[in-house]
Symmetry: C2
Subunit: 76 residues, 2 copies
């Protein structure tokens, strides 16, 4: 079983990495860019008896800092 987890900074939390990318794109002439947010994507290869609840548990305990980050889980 595979799971993909997206971890993004919550709205309102300053994202210096995203801002750096936005500035760099602007400096390179990409003037259609209005905003950039950068986050992490974590692809998990799991044994077949794993459940979404297991993945949620991993997110809460390790993968995301839920004070400032939100996460989304996609199972495949």
């Amino acid at each position: 079983m595979k799971a993909r987890v997206h971890v993004m900074l919550k709205n309102g939390v300053l994202d210096p990495q995203g801002e750096a990318v936005r500035h760099a794109l602007g400096a390179m002439g990409f003037d259609k860019v209005e905003g950039v947010r950068q986050g992490k994507v974590i692809d998990l290869e799991l044994s077949d008896d794993a459940t979404e609840a297991d993945v949620r548990d991993m997110c809460e305990k390790l993968l995301a800092n839920t004070v400032i980050e939100s996460y989304e889980i996609e199972l495949a």
Copy 2:
């Protein structure tokens, strides 16, 4: 217009971040995890006249190091 870009290390390229996460999850008792790959997700807010070709150009020139990384573009 919004675009989401995933940038992952290519298969075969060592992913120390992913390995670190795998070890940490194992040490925490998550024994159903068989493999972890970690990458970046970049959410772009673009003006409405931007096209997928613009985003591809950004990936090739800045967002991904195409020697070792692959990227996927999703438009929303």
